[in-house]
Symmetry: C2
Subunit: 304 residues, 2 copies
């Protein structure tokens, strides 16, 4: 069954706030991070990137991944993913019982060398090695291809090149590929160009650096994409530093999709309660606009 | 000539920052407001709502409209509009040499009574009276219909009702009608519903209360609308109070439309210089994201 307006009946949301969001914040205790994941799941979220098995020296806010996982107590139907940077991280994640892995590879050679300290080709080989050990544990790996819609160093990455990288990652064992707009360079034009090459069986991971994350999500669903990473509150990056933007906010996405009649399975009212709890945990306002303005359906008293 | 992708070749931008933006700020001296308008015009903007002839007691930041106008020294091709709340304001504006008027009427009865202290019908009659005296001076009036995509008091206003109001305003002498999303309640769904009734020969005035202003502008151009109000920096409302949003930012709109190949006639680099000047004038950051992140085409050094 399809709609006549070109929009999908439903989309799949992977909540990345506990990982991509909180890694940009001051460290939050593993017990609080586990509580956040449990609260998110109670809103209807069924897929969460909950932890990262990275060096606690490199990313202090992600220390204690095993403690977070031990505190989750989630129903088995909920997908709990861990981001791993290398084979060692994958082994730790699998040892902790993780059944879904995410791995990042950059479409931008300069971004890869600068941020991952590997050439793009080295990181593709590392991703394949991770896929191999995950496969032996029957664990699917979603490879997130950063800078898919442009790099702050090289500008646009050719759509043919992004597509070639997707093919290479799938050949290397990736069960899924997610195209990431790491520095908020996507536009409907470049989304169209890239998705026309890759097809729409990809996830999208959108950042709001230039205030375009929700716009790009809207354009992408009209092109046929149905898998999105979102973060509670719009956390991520350094949301309060000029020019850096967090992830597209789960609240803002659910509010938009509710209005468009696109099913997410997520209860917006419950989600807004979690937003408020997140602000208490991190000690500052989240960037999400709907978190503060409320959904458009929440009316004021009708008398002046 | 049309494009095959459904987008227009060009759109017309009316810059409302000097009026709808600065009225929400601490008062800025008329000479500085005139300088801002001159700077905006040098970026390629040809239509500016520069002043408002309201009571300085009601809106202190808009005091000194005649002084602003006297300081403009603009080429005659530039449209300079004044917002007027009533016949008295229209007479003052015409006396000061204004050749374009804007008037606000609310589609929401409760919003009208609460904010304009007139019933909706009374404000329509006032708008017609303004159109009559403007007409005798051969000055066109653009009536801005607030809450066209929803009211915080009544919720959705029926599209048939919005269309009926447009017809009534045009019958009353409005040369143009602009549909305003005063409290950021528009979505692509309701835009489609309303524009399907009114047709696309309307302006749109979009606020970013829920982070959807740029998304709604994108949806609207794909539906065929080609006239938009925007404000330098995304000024307007109380941009730093939770839940209240400014206008869609001129910089963000021009950056998006440049990327989509939709002509605005406005030079983004020059505009970003003006954004920076505006921050100096108002003493705080503007909400525009592109003002801080820069356009996606502005790359960093390619070496780590």
């Amino acid at each position: 069954m399809t709609r006549t307006d070109g929009l999908p009946l439903s989309v799949h949301i992977r909540e990345v706030g506990p990982r991509d969001g909180l890694q940009a914040e001051e460290p939050v205790a593993p017990s609080s991070r586990a509580a956040l994941v449990r609260s998110l799941v109670l809103t209807g979220i069924v897929d969460v990137e909950a932890v990262s098995f990275v060096s606690p020296k490199a990313v202090p806010a992600m220390a204690g991944a095993s403690e977070v996982l031990a505190g989750l107590e989630l129903p088995p139907a909920v997908k709990v993913a861990a981001l791993v940077p290398n084979v060692r991280g994958a082994e730790l994640a699998l040892g902790a019982g993780i059944r879904h892995l995410t791995v990042t590879v950059s479409a931008s050679p300069a971004y890869s060398e600068r941020n991952v300290h590997m050439t793009r080709e080295e990181s593709i080989i590392e991703a394949s090695a991770i896929c191999a050990i995950a496969s032996s544990a029957d664990v699917p790996v979603d490879v997130v291809l950063s800078c898919s819609f442009g790099s702050p160093y090289e500008g646009d990455i050719a759509a043919t090149e992004v597509n070639r990288l997707c093919d290479e990652l799938r050949s290397g064992g990736a069960a899924a590929v997610t195209l990431a707009d790491t520095t908020g360079m996507a536009t409907p034009r470049i989304l169209d160009e890239v998705l026309s090459m890759t097809g729409v069986d990809v996830g999208l991971h959108l950042h709001d650096t230039r205030g375009t994350a929700l716009l790009n999500l809207y354009a992408a669903i009209s092109f046929g994409v149905t898998r999105f990473d979102t973060a509670i509150g719009g956390l991520g990056g350094s949301p309060f530093a000029p020019g850096v933007g967090g992830n597209v906010a789960t609240e803002d996405v659910v509010a938009l999709l509710d209005d468009l009649g696109v099913e997410t399975g997520i209860d917006l009212d419950k989600l807004l309660v979690v937003s408020s709890q997140v602000e208490d945990v991190i000690g500052h306002q989240v960037p999400s606009r709907v978190a503060h303005a409320g959904p458009r359906t929440r009316l004021q008293g009708s008398q002046p």
